[in-house]
């Protein structure tokens, strides 16, 4: 798989990361190298193999459906770059 400059921009947009035009070529080359490296996995026959999603030997536990915490608005906002009335996260305007 070779990654071209347009694909770099497409992925960068999906990942919400600005990639300036002057970096496209190097990134395309590096990503192509990584994808060529990982493509050796196609040599492995995985017919009938269940994908392994975790190494944890546990069933996902259930918890009681009760409120057991809360009331930490000030703590949650303490590290926010911007907030409104110490109650809400603030972001650039999204509706006109």
């Amino acid at each position: 798989m070779t990654i071209d400059r347009a694909t770099v921009q497409k992925i960068a947009n999906l990942a919400r990361i600005d990639v300036p035009a002057e970096e496209e070529e190097l990134l395309a080359k590096q990503l192509s190298g990584i994808f060529q490296f990982v493509e050796q996995l196609n040599e492995v026959d995985t017919t009938g193999v269940q994908p392994m999603t975790t190494a944890a030997k546990v069933k996902l536990p259930y918890r009681k459906d009760v409120v057991n915490d809360g009331g930490h608005a000030a703590d949650l906002l303490a590290n926010a770059p911007d907030n409104v009335d110490n109650e809400y996260f603030a972001v650039p305007k999204v509706v006109e």
Partner: protein, 496 residues
């Protein structure tokens, strides 16, 4: 008083119990050591006042006869662990100014056991790297680098990602440190600096409050200057935590009490696929020497096969970036850390500018790889394929462990390299973890202990892999190797 910084944790605990010195004296000696070692650039944040207050509380505990497992022991905390009201950066610009309002479960467990915090140590940004050169705050220097008494004349990497941890332990600034290991981030830096480190079985330690990189692989573990010290720290760190759904609800055995260099009758496997092209002969020779040590101690050495070994690194470099792209989506300039405003720009413009400015190039690259392999049309070809190969790799280990009790391999394919090497090609850097990644994918407990020195005078580690939840065998075999190797060499740079 400088000799206090050369003690092991076990020796220091005995010294404090016998009232030979206080926790405050031990901690003050280490605070001085930290201050005298700034040339290593290992600490992101020094916290001497916290260490002093904790040490004072430890002295009160000793006076009352209520000392905890690690009472009075000064440690360094990898800056990936959230520490309440103390700057936590993951060595990334994007977490500028982030002071968590909570304490990670594992760091909290260490404080409960009586340890104290000298400061937060650097890592590869978000734990992505094998050299600690992706740290936003500059390179960390391996204390084994050439030092002329005033400055470093050749700068080596301390390994990574837990390179701040490995550097401060080797330089005698801290008695131990926390690490985290996703594909080798405890074991490879331990190998590069002549210390020990264990990654326990996935699920042994809670991941709650540890900044996530690849959640199905990340695991906390201790790093220190002896196997026993690692066992002591792990004893305090491990345990079930309802706040991490992958943390296992099973009792933590008393590893420290049972610890013995006992290998008589044990079957130790040598995986033949780990003998790969291009590995220096001295690494192979040390590996075989270690097998002889275990044989002499009564173990049986058995050749085993792990046929999918060569696919572990490419499997990892799909799964880890996929999980990282998902985990790092939270850094959006809204809830914490850096925000880059774009005048007149939209919310999406702010996200893009923030993430561009806040993430370093390796992290950006991995997010892009992960985004791609999870995107529509590529999910099955890359991500799902990697999960299937991961299952085959885990199956290889399961079969091998029907025949043996533990596996012995080298930890890393080289000694510490010069800062700047392996930077031209990401894949070259990734191959540093060729021996450590397979066990990570299978979630197995594994440990690196110093085995000897290479021809360049730099440390080489030996790597023990065990069955799931059999940390005891990993520790016991490691202790047997430690006793046989008698590793006493010291780095050129050490704390005053």
């Amino acid at each position: 008083m400088t000799s206090l910084t050369h003690l092991t944790i076990a020796e220091a605990l005995e010294g404090m119990k016998a009232r030979k010195f206080s926790a405050t004296e031990l901690t003050e000696a280490h605070i001085k050591a930290v201050e005298s070692s700034r040339a290593l650039n290992a600490f992101v944040t020094e916290t001497p006042e916290i260490a002093r207050a904790q040490a004072k509380a430890s002295d009160a505990k000793y006076a009352k006869g209520e000392a905890g497992l690690l009472e009075g022991i000064p440690l360094a905390m990898k800056d990936l662990y959230c520490t309440k009201d103390v700057l936590t950066t993951a060595s990334s610009h994007i977490l500028d100014g982030f002071k968590p309002k909570y304490e990670s479960t594992v760091s909290g467990n260490l404080w409960k056991a009586g340890a104290n915090m000298l400061g937060k140590v650097a890592l590869d940004e978000f734990a992505m790297g094998s050299s600690t050169t992706t740290n936003y705050y500059g390179n960390v220097i391996n204390p084994w680098s050439k030092w002329n008494g005033k400055e470093f004349t050749e700068k080596l990497v301390p390994g990574g990602s837990s390179g701040g941890s490995s550097a401060v332990i080797a330089a005698r600034c801290a008695m131990g440190a926390t690490g985290t290991d996703t594909g080798g981030s405890i074991r490879q830096p331990a190998s590069f600096t002549g210390i020990s480190g264990i990654k326990p079985t996935y699920g042994r330690c809670s991941r709650w409050g540890i900044i996530a990189f690849a959640s199905s692989l990340d695991q906390a573990g201790p790093m220190a200057r002896s196997v026993k010290d690692c066992a002591l720290m792990l004893q305090a760190m491990a345990g079930h935590d309802p706040k991490d759904s992958t943390s296992v609800d099973m009792p933590v055995p008393d590893w420290v009490k049972a610890l013995a260099p006992q290998v008589k009758g044990k079957r130790i496997g040598i995986p033949k696929e780990y003998r790969v092209d291009g590995i220096p002969a001295e690494i192979d020779a040390l590996w075989m020497k270690a097998a002889d040590w275990l044989k002499a101690a009564g173990a049986e050495i058995v050749e085993v096969s792990l046929p999918h070994t060569k696919y572990a690194v490419p499997t990892y470099y799909i799964i880890a970036p996929a999980e990282c792209s998902s985990n790092l989506a939270r850094y959006d300039g809204v809830r914490f850390g850096l925000r880059e405003e774009v005048p007149g720009g939209s919310l999406a413009d702010m996200y893009k500018a923030t993430r561009r400015a806040g993430f370093g190039k390796e992290v950006r690259r991995r997010i892009l790889v992960g985004t791609y392999v999870l995107s529509a049309g590529y999910y099955d070809a890359y991500y799902n394929k990697a999960l299937c190969v991961r299952a085959k790799i885990a199956e290889d280990f399961k079969k091998a462990f029907e025949k043996v009790d533990a596996l012995l391999t080298p930890t890393a394919p080289s000694t510490a390299f010069v800062i700047g090497a392996n930077e031209d090609d990401p894949v070259k850097m990734y191959l540093n973890d060729i021996f450590t990644i397979p066990a990570s994918l299978a979630g197995l407990p594994c440990m690196s202990v110093p085995g000897g020195l290479g021809a360049d005078g730099l440390p080489l580690g030996l790597h023990i892999i065990g069955k799931p939840f059999d940390e005891q065998t990993v520790l016991d075999v490691s202790l047997a190797l430690e006793e046989a190797a008698k590793f006493t060499a010291l780095p050129q740079f050490m704390a005053a």
